[in-house]
Amino acid sequence: MFALKRHPETPADRPDQELIALALDGSDAVGSEAAFVQLVERYQDRVFRLVSRYTRDHSECEDLAQEVFLRVFRKLHTFQGESQFFTWLYRIAVNAANDLVSKVSRRRLRLVEDEFLDVPGDERATQYAPDAPLERAELARVTQELVNELPEKFRTVILLREYEDLSYTEMAEVLGCRIGTVESRLFRARQRFRALLEERYPDLVPGAACERGGK
């Protein structure tokens, strides 16, 4: 693998809009590529995290992430700057992931579970996570399994909200719909997820087993 030299005139802390302008600048090929690489480096982990929810293994995840950035490269000149760059990027990622899912017609997707997984700390996650690590891993597996069974529209809103922590406004930008639509879709998605959780794993939902037993 070759090492990419950082262009001297593209400091890492430049705002997205400037990097996009540089990447689109046809007069300086080296600077243009360096600017685009910085955009990739800035968002690659977020894209990986998102597309990993749609893929079966690390290799497929990497291929899909690369496809996302290639689409971004091809369409960069169409970015108008009316929304945030990352919501535009997420829209491309969600579309690419859904294309992949429909292409291979997968009914059940598996969570990426291999030794390459990085498990970063997450304050919000720790706040809610159960104490026992094994329990947590099991809960994560079950959750991913059930999320993958949701219809595409519901799965995407759950991923964007619960995993990517996007606000309603950002989700509306990614999905190209109204905030009210986001809210209602999210509400239904959670209802559907809860129903699946209660049905398959009633022990994980306090009160669900009693309710079912009482019926």
């Binding site: 685009f36 990739v40 690369q66 000149h77 169409t78 996650a125 959750t143 999210l186």
Partner: protein, 156 residues
Amino acid sequence: MTLTHADQLQLQRYLDGELSAVGAAAFAARLQAEPELAAAAAAATPLREAFASARRTAPAAPRGFAASVAAATRQLPSRLALENLDAAAGIRRMCQRVLLAAAVVLVASLAVRAGWIATGFGAPLQASPDEVARELQELDSKIRKETTLGTGNERR
């Protein structure tokens, strides 16, 4: 009393941190005062725990990923060529739509001319003799009734 849909959506906004500071404070006060609302909020906890646990397992991009993307972009046409391709694709899409619309109009007009679609334009206003006779009989009987009623009133 069961929670209304509006209450449930407001609870969702509250738990997602989508309410303003004032709105959140007002809703927190409601949670204190309304046990049913508080129970609904508590019921959301297992879901939040489930999602939080799944959120932790996320892969990071491998080292050298950005460089491999850059290498792949070098295989693509130049920026100018990409923009031209995009513009050409836009024009092609527009032409396809125009052609499709023209084809629909052509087929519809041919269908009308061939008589597959009944329009009624220019058709003579004709009714069958039986129909006319029946209409006349009905009209006559109506008039007779009115006349009979009218003479009856005059005699009184």
